[in-house]
Amino acid sequence: MATLGLSLSDFNRLVAEHAAALYRMAYRLSGDRHEAEDLVQETFRSAWKSRRLFDAGRGERAWLASILRRRAADQWRSRRPRLVFWGDHQPDLGRAAQDPTRDEYTDEMQEGLERLPGELRETLLLVVVGELTHQEAADLLGIPLGTVLSRVSRARARLREYLMAAAKR
C-alpha cells in the first residue's frame, strides 16, 4: 500500500531526480530563465508545504508537474510590468537596451513553441519535456488519452513545419 507524506530524504530525492526536467519545462513554458528558476523554486516550495498530500504510490513527476502548471498560471496572472528605466527623453548612452542573454536563450524552438496554440504546447511539453506518460498527461489535463496522442502529434507536426520554414529563411 502506498504511503502518504513526504520525508526530507524523499524531498531531496525528488529535487535530484526531477528538478532538471521541471526547470526545462518551466523554461519552455515561460521563455525566461529567471522566471523558470522562480517557477521551479515555487513548485518545490509548494510541494514541501503540501508534503502531507504526497502519495508515493502515484507518479511523482506528474504531481510536481501539476504544481508547476498551477504556479505558472499564478505567475502569468500576477505578472506586473517590468521596471521602466527609460523615459520619454531617452538619452543615447551607447548601451543596448535589450536583454544581453536573449540570443542565447530565445532560440527558434522557443519561437516555434510560442506560435503553437496553448493546449498543444502544454500537452507537448508535459509529454516530451516533462517526460510524463501519455496517460499521466491525460489525467493531469483531464482529457481522454486519444486527445493527448493527437495533440502531441499535431504539435510536433506544426513545430516541425515552423522549424523547416525557419531553416529556409
Binding site: 526547470y23 529567471h34 513545430l159
Partner: protein, 712 residues
C-alpha cells in the same frame, strides 16, 4: 508523336516520368528525416539547467524545517505585541493631543523646547561666521536645555486644534489672500489631477507582508494631529510635515549611525544582472555609500555643513536641504613599525553581507598607511589555510592588493587551521625587525572546537603572547551573537593578549586595524546627536528623505545617538517648501556630542539661511550635487512614488515621472561639476547604477531568501 516512334511504349513511359522535380525536394526530405520525433524531442529538452539550482531547492526544507515553526510563533507573538503597543501609543498620543491646553499667546514649538535656557551658563568657545561652539559642562548636566533660538511666535490664527491648514499657509505669507489656495501648491494638483491623491485612511492599508524581523531602522513620526502614520507604511516614503501645525513637528532628529549595507547588497546583486528586492533598499544607506567630501573640521572634532539647491526633480517651489557632519582625521603617523599577519576567513558565509569585500577594502586602505619598515602577511582559511602573501614589505601595495584579490570563498570555517598557519608565519620571522607579529583574524564564523583542541590552542596562544605575538579578532558577525561565539572568541583573545573588535562596515574594520596600528583610539566623538529646528515662518513644509521606519511601523526606530570615528561622515537630506514671508533663517542645526577625552558634552549650533540654497543644481555645493543624484537614484531603484504637497497641507503621491528615469538621471549626473569625477566613491556609485539600467527585476521570493539564517 507516339505513332512515329519505333517504340511507342517507351515514349509513353518517358512522358510519364517527364515531370520536373522541385529543386529543394531532396533537402526537404533530408530535413524531414533529420527532424524526426526523436530529434525534435531532444531539441525541446535541450535547455541547460543553471548551476546551483538543486542546492537552492534543497535549502527550502532546511530553512522551513528548522525555523519555520519558531519563526511563525515568534512572528505571531511580535505582531500581537506590536499591535497592542501601536494602539496604546496611538491612544496615548490622541489623548495627549486632546488634553493639550490651547494657551493664548504661547510660543512656537522651539520656544517650548528651550524654555529653561536662561538658566544655562553656556560659554562660547569658538565664534566663526554662523557657527557657535558651546561647552555645556559634563554630560550629567545634559538635561539643561539649549540657548533660545531667535524665532518669533506663530500667528494667533495658527494655534489650536481646529487649525485650518490653508489658513495657516495664508497667514505664513504663502497665499496672497487669506482663504485662497496658493498657486504654487495648486500647480501640483493642476499638473497631475488624475494621479495626485490625498493621504489614504487606515482602511486603504495594504495587506501586511512577512518581514525579516525587528530592525532598528528609521525615525518614528510624531504621533500628533495632522500626521498620517499610515503614509510611510503605504508608500515607503515620508510625508511632508508642517512645522507650524504642531510644536513636535518643528524638530527633526536624524539617526547618524547609518552604514551602506543595502547599497553594497545592490552592487552585489547587480553583478549578477539582477536588482535586489526593493523592500531591502534604503535611501539613507545609498547616501552613506558615498563620501561627499565635506570640508574637514578646523580645530573641532566634528564639523557641521549645510547647503541646498532648488530641486531639479520636482519642479519649482521645492528645495533640497542637506546637512552634513564630518569627523576629523586621526593621524596614523608617527608610529612604530609593525609586523601584521592577517588571517582572513574565506568560508561560504563571508560572501554574504559583503564581508569579504569589506575586509578587502579596509586592508587596502590600511596598506596605504604602511611604510617600508612594516611587514604584512596574508593567510586565508576555509576548510584549510593558504598563505596568500608572506612577509611583504609594507610599501609594496601591489603585492598586498594581489593577495587580497586572490581571496576566494570556500566552504567551511577551519579556524584552527587559520590560526596554525598564521602563528607559523609569526614564529618563522620572530626575532627579526620590526618586532613580534600582531595576528589579526577576520571572521564571521563560529569558533567551534572540542575541549581538547580549544585548550591546546589557548595554551599555544598564551605561549606566543609571552613572546610578544598577540591575537586580535575583527568580528564580522552582523546578527545576534551565538553562545559558542561568546564563549570561544574572547577566550582565544584573552589567551593571545589581544582584543575583539566588532565591525559591520568596511570603515569599522579599518578603524579596528588603525587602532592596532597606532595603539590609539580612533574614536573622535561619542553619542553624537543631530537636531534640526525648522523655522515655521520660513519653512512651510519639510520632508526627510530616507530613514523610513518600515518594520512594524517603527516599533524599534534607529538609535539617534552614535559614535563618530576618524574621518567618518553622515548626511541628512530634506525636501523643503519655503513660505513667501521674508526672513533668511530657515532652520537651526544642533549637533551635540560627548568628548571621549574629557567626558563633557559639547556642541555646534549653526543657523541655516535662505542664501545657502542655490537656484539650480549646477550652482550648488559639490556635496549637494552628488547627494541629490544619489538620493534620486535610490528612490528610483526603490520604486517609490514622488511625494507632493497639496493645498490642504497633506501629502499626495504620484508615480515617478519617467522623465526622471534612472538613465536620464545618470546622464545628468555626468554633466554636473567635473570635479565630481575625482570622487571615487561617487563614480563607483554611478557605475553600479549603470548596471541597474540593464538589470532584471528582483526575483520573487528573494526577500525571503535574504531573511533566512543563511542570508543576510
Amino acid at each position: 508523336m507516339f505513332w512515329a516512334d519505333p517504340n511507342p511504349d517507351a515514349w509513353l513511359d518517358r512522358r510519364l516520368c517527364d515531370l520536373p522535380v522541385p529543386s529543394d525536394l531532396v533537402d526537404r526530405l533530408r530535413r524531414e528525416v533529420a527532424l524526426g520525433d526523436e530529434v525534435l524531442d531532444a531539441a525541446l529538452r535541450d535547455v541547460s539547467v543553471p548551476a546551483g539550482l538543486r542546492g537552492r531547492l534543497m535549502r527550502i526544507t532546511w530553512t522551513r524545517r528548522r525555523f519555520g515553526q519558531w519563526v511563525r510563533a515568534a512572528a505571531a507573538a511580535v505582531l500581537i505585541i506590536a499591535s497592542s503597543l501601536g494602539y496604546m501609543a496611538a491612544v496615548v498620543g490622541l489623548v495627549a493631543t486632546a488634553l493639550e491646553p490651547s494657551r493664548p499667546g504661547s510660543g512656537p514649538p522651539v520656544l517650548e523646547v528651550t524654555a529653561r535656557s536662561d538658566r544655562l551658563d553656556s560659554t562660547p568657545l569658538v565664534n566663526m561666521e554662523g557657527v557657535e561652539l558651546v561647552s555645556q559642562g559634563p554630560a550629567t548636566a545634559l538635561e539643561v536645555d539649549r540657548p533660545k533660538p531667535q524665532l518669533s511666535p506663530p500667528p494667533v490664527a495658527a494655534r489650536g486644534r481646529d487649525l485650518e491648514v490653508w489658513e495657516l499657509f495664508a497667514q505664513a505669507g504663502l497665499g496672497d489672500q487669506p482663504g485662497k489656495l496658493d498657486p504654487l501648491l495648486d500647480r501640483y494638483l493642476a499638473a497631475w489631477p488624475e494621479t495626485a491623491r490625498a493621504s489614504p485612511s487606515w482602511y486603504d492599508l495594504p495587506e501586511l507582508k512577512k518581514v525579516p524581523g525587528l530592525v532598528r531602522q528609521g525615525v518614528q513620526l510624531p504621533l500628533v494631529a495632522g500626521v498620517d502614520p499610515s503614509f510611510v507604511i503605504l508608500y515607503r516614503v515620508h510625508p511632508f510635515l508642517i512645522p507650524a501645525a504642531h510644536p513636535a513637528l518643528c524638530i527633526s532628529e536624524v539617526p547618524l549611525g547609518v552604514d551602506a549595507a543595502s547599497f553594497e547588497l545592490t552592487a552585489r546583486f547587480l553583478e549578477d544582472g539582477q536588482l535586489p528586492p526593493r523592500e531591502v533598499l534604503r535611501t539613507e544607506e545609498f547616501l552613506a555609500a558615498v563620501d561627499f567630501r565635506y570640508p574637514k573640521p578646523n580645530g573641532t572634532p566634528l564639523a557641521l555643513h549645510a547647503a541646498g539647491t532648488a530641486s531639479p526633480f520636482r519642479g519649482p517651489g521645492l528645495y533640497l536641504l542637506q546637512v552634513g557632519i564630518q569627523a576629523r582625521e586621526v593621524p596614523l603617523q608617527p608610529r612604530e613599525p609593525v609586523r601584521l599577519v592577517l588571517a582572513v576567513d574565506t568560508s561560504a558565509s563571508m560572501r554574504w553581507g559583503g564581508r569579504l569585500e569589506m575586509v578587502r577594502r579596509a586592508v587596502q586602505r590600511l596598506a596605504e598607511q604602511l611604510g617600508p619598515e612594516d611587514r604584512i602577511s596574508v593567510v586565508s582559511f576555509s576548510e584549510e589555510a593558504t598563505v596568500r602573501a608572506e612577509e611583504v614589505v609594507g610599501s609594496d601595495r601591489e603585492s598586498v592588493r594581489a593577495a587580497l584579490e586572490s581571496l576566494e570563498v570556500g566552504s567551511s570555517t577551519n579556524l584552527a587551521a587559520g590560526l596554525r598557519e598564521a602563528y607559523g608565519l609569526a614564529q618563522r620571522y620572530h626575532g627579526k625587525p620590526p618586532g613580534p607579529a600582531q595576528v589579526v583574524i577576520f571572521s564571521d564564523g563560529l569558533a567551534q572546537f572540542d575541549g581538547d583542541t580549544g585548550g591546546a590552542l589557548q595554551q599555544r596562544l598564551a605561549e606566543a603572547a609571552a613572546e610578544g605575538v598577540t591575537l586580535h579578532v575583527i568580528d564580522l558577525v552582523q546578527g545576534p551573537v551565538g553562545r559558542d561565539r561568546e564563549r570561544w572568541l574572547p577566550r582565544l583573545c584573552r589567551a593571545g593578549k589581544g582584543t575583539v573588535h566588532r565591525a559591520s562596515t568596511a570603515d569599522q574594520v579599518f578603524w579596528g586595524l588603525a587602532e592596532l596600528l597606532t595603539r590609539r583610539s580612533q574614536l573622535v566623538a561619542s553619542r553624537v546627536r543631530l537636531r534640526v529646528h525648522f523655522n515655521h515662518q520660513t519653512v512651510a513644509a519639510y520632508r526627510l528623505i530616507g530613514h523610513e521606519a518600515m518594520m512594524f511601523a517603527g516599533l524599534k526606530p534607529a538609535p539617534l545617538e552614535t559614535d563618530f570615528y576618524a574621518g567618518q561622515s553622515a548626511t541628512a537630506l530634506y525636501e523643503i517648501v519655503l513660505t513667501k514671508r521674508p526672513g533668511g533663517q530657515l532652520a537651526l542645526a544642533d549637533l551635540e556630542w560627548i568628548s571621549p577625552e574629557t567626558g563633557q558634552r559639547t556642541g555646534i549650533r549653526q543657523p541655516i539661511h535662505r542664501r545657502q540654497l542655490a537656484k539650480r543644481l549646477a550652482d550648488a555645493a559639490l556635496y549637494v550635487q552628488a547627494a541629490a543624484v544619489v538620493a534620486e537614484a535610490a528612490e528610483i531603484v526603490r520604486e517609490t512614488p514622488e511625494v507632493l504637497l497639496v493645498s490642504t497641507g497633506r501629502s499626495a503621491v504620484r508615480f515617478r515621472s519617467p522623465r526622471w528615469s534612472l538613465a536620464y538621471l545618470l546622464a545628468l549626473a555626468r554633466q554636473l561639476d567635473a570635479r565630481l569625477e575625482q570622487n571615487a566613491s561617487f563614480m563607483r556609485f554611478l557605475r553600479v547604477m549603470d548596471q541597474a539600467l540593464s538589470a532584471k527585476p528582483a526575483r520573487s521570493g528573494s526577500l525571503e531568501d535574504l531573511s533566512s539564517p543563511m542570508g543576510l
